[in-house]
């Protein structure tokens, strides 16, 4: 039986997505390892590159969930723009080869405390809200559906966010400008 056949049978017989679950596990493992390496490595450039793997993993998870727009946007905005700016900034200022021992030693305890606290709070909140909910994926969420929703139902929020981003942009220019 083909892979697509297995999927179809799984979808018809109950909502058991074998391939999706296996890949979810594999990608999640890669994301966890990369995230841990991202904060433990003593090389700033390596940290940014590990972060690329984490973000790419998130995009892959969105594909598994069938939301293609969010996945592609994740790649375009986070990997294509934000990480590139990170790397660009690091390399333009101090791109030391090899390990840098001054990176995150003194604040490590506090940072891990905050991270654990955040994970616990978010985990409990998610379990509390969604532990009984069953995920229904009939078909991928198409691009047009998303844009229709943004430009009709959520138009006010969309415009508000646009103005906010514009304000941030102008603010950044004002702060960076020397009189």
């Amino acid at each position: 039986m083909t892979a697509a056949g297995v999927l179809a049978a799984g979808a018809a017989g109950g909502d058991l997505f074998v391939a999706q679950n296996v890949f979810f596990g594999v990608i999640a493992l890669v994301m966890i390892v990369s995230a841990i390496r991202c904060v433990t490595t003593r090389n700033v450039v390596h940290a940014a590159l590990w972060l690329v793997l984490v973000l790419a993993g998130a995009a892959a998870q969105f594909i598994l969930l069938g939301s293609e727009f969010v996945a592609v946007t994740q790649v375009l905005v986070y990997i294509g723009a934000i990480i590139v700016l990170f790397l660009f900034g690091i390399m333009l200022t101090k791109a030391s080869m090899g390990d840098d021992d001054s990176v995150a030693t003194e604040k490590r305890l506090m940072a891990s405390l905050v991270a654990v606290l955040l994970a616990v709070v978010m985990g409990i909140a998610l379990l509390d809200s969604y532990s009984d909910t069953r995920l229904v994926i009939d078909e991928p969420q198409r691009f047009g559906v998303v844009s229709d929703a943004i430009f009709s139902q959520y138009i006010v929020a969309f415009e508000a966010v646009s103005v906010l981003l514009l304000a941030a942009l102008i603010g950044a220019i004002v702060v960076a400008r020397k009189e």
């Binding site: 083909t2 892979a3 697509a4 450039v45 390596h46 590159l49 690329v52 293609e68 727009f69 592609v72 946007t73 790649v75 375009l76 990997i79 294509g80 723009a81 990480i83 590139v84 700016l85 790397l87 660009f88 390399m91 333009l92 791109a95 080869m97 198409r142 691009f143 047009g144």
Partner: protein
């Protein structure tokens, strides 16, 4: 072709897709190197170019590949080994993923969905990470400077590239590249529909912006500050040798081909041949050839400009992007949007 693939099992279809992608990338890159880099530039400079290997030097390419494969794969002593070695593959992966959205005929496509050009722009931006990895990982000042220049340039010109596409998307009412081809094939010029309506006619401004931004994205002269040979050797590629240099080289020409193919689909009607029914099965064979012909024409433009113009200074090329191309592209979007609603 892909209708047949639907009956195969997943791994068979995937293998065929990967093989087709490999052929497309290598064939396009090889054609461009031979036709443009070896021959066209030679004729422009009143010389013959390679003549010894094969008839008219047509096997020169194989000789070059053999040469690069024999060379030692050197990693500088202080380089960051893994980052240095992985960088060419990141760049090449980005090129391969770009290819995925391109349609070659009514049924000859890898994937066709509404993401289309949006997906292409997203995966195209990933190559910047590979260039930064190469620049930093080499542990060489030339490489680092080249990588930084390349990144600054690619960020600046990605914006006009994206904005130039928006005009076409508004006019075609879809981001699906297949849909954009069909919109041009079924279009009419003032009621005359014999050749469809290639968007270069209505989106001429967008086409010019796209081609300029593409030239910069490919870091071809006059936008070759990142690889300026008189000051930076070859920029971020300086420390590479053997197979990895070959990968960068293939990536450079394959990306030129793929970007030209995207331009051909967006503005020149893609695989459509005037006079044929867009659903005609013949187009599955003819379409890829027509598209390839348009790619050769567009890359001819790219290399013609490359071998003709002097290099832009860094501040000049940044000013061109931010102060001229971006506002022009935005104006083009506004005009297209207004006309779309009014007409």
């Amino acid at each position: 072709m892909m209708a047949v693939l639907a009956e195969l099992s997943y791994w068979q279809a995937t293998s065929i897709r990967v093989a087709a992608g490999l052929v497309a990338v290598l064939l396009v890159a090889g054609t461009l190197v031979y036709a443009h880099l070896f021959k066209m530039v030679s004729f422009m400079q009143s010389r013959l170019g390679p003549m010894e290997a094969g008839p008219y030097g047509s096997l020169q390419l194989l000789a070059e590949i053999g040469k690069f494969l024999q060379k030692e794969d050197i990693v500088p002593r202080r380089a960051d080994r893994f980052v240095f070695k992985a960088a060419p593959f990141v760049v090449l992966t980005s090129t391969f993923l770009l290819l995925v959205v391109l349609p070659g005929g009514p049924d000859a496509w890898f994937i066709t969905n509404d993401l289309g050009i949006y997906l292409a722009m997203a995966v195209g931006s990933v190559s910047v990470i590979g260039i930064l990895m190469a620049g930093w990982g080499s542990a060489s000042k030339y490489s680092l400077l080249g990588g930084l220049r390349a990144t600054g340039q690619l960020i600046a010109y990605e914006l006009p590239l994206l904005l130039a596409v928006v005009g076409v998307v508004i006019q075609a009412e879809t981001m699906n590249l297949q849909g954009i081809v069909l919109a041009q094939a079924n279009g009419e010029i003032f009621g005359w529909g014999a050749i469809g309506n290639p968007f270069i006619l209505t989106q001429l401004v967008g086409f010019v912006i796209f081609m300029i931004a593409m030239q910069a994205e490919l870091t071809q002269t006059p936008f070759d500050m990142p690889v300026a040979e008189s000051e930076l050797v070859t920029g971020y590629m300086t420390e590479y040798s053997g197979l990895r240099f070959l990968l960068f080289f293939i990536g450079e020409f394959a990306t030129a081909g793929v970007f030209s193919a995207i331009a051909a689909v967006l503005f020149l009607g893609g695989w459509y041949v005037p006079g044929l029914d867009p659903a005609d099965n013949l187009l599955n064979v003819l379409g890829p050839l027509v598209l390839m012909g348009k790619v050769v024409v567009l890359t001819f433009l790219v290399f013609w400009i490359r071998f003709t113009f002097p290099r832009f200074r860094e501040d000049q090329l940044q000013r061109l992007a931010w102060k001229f191309l971006v506002p022009l592209a935005l104006a083009n979007i506004v005009v297209t949007g207004v006309l779309k609603v009014v007409v």
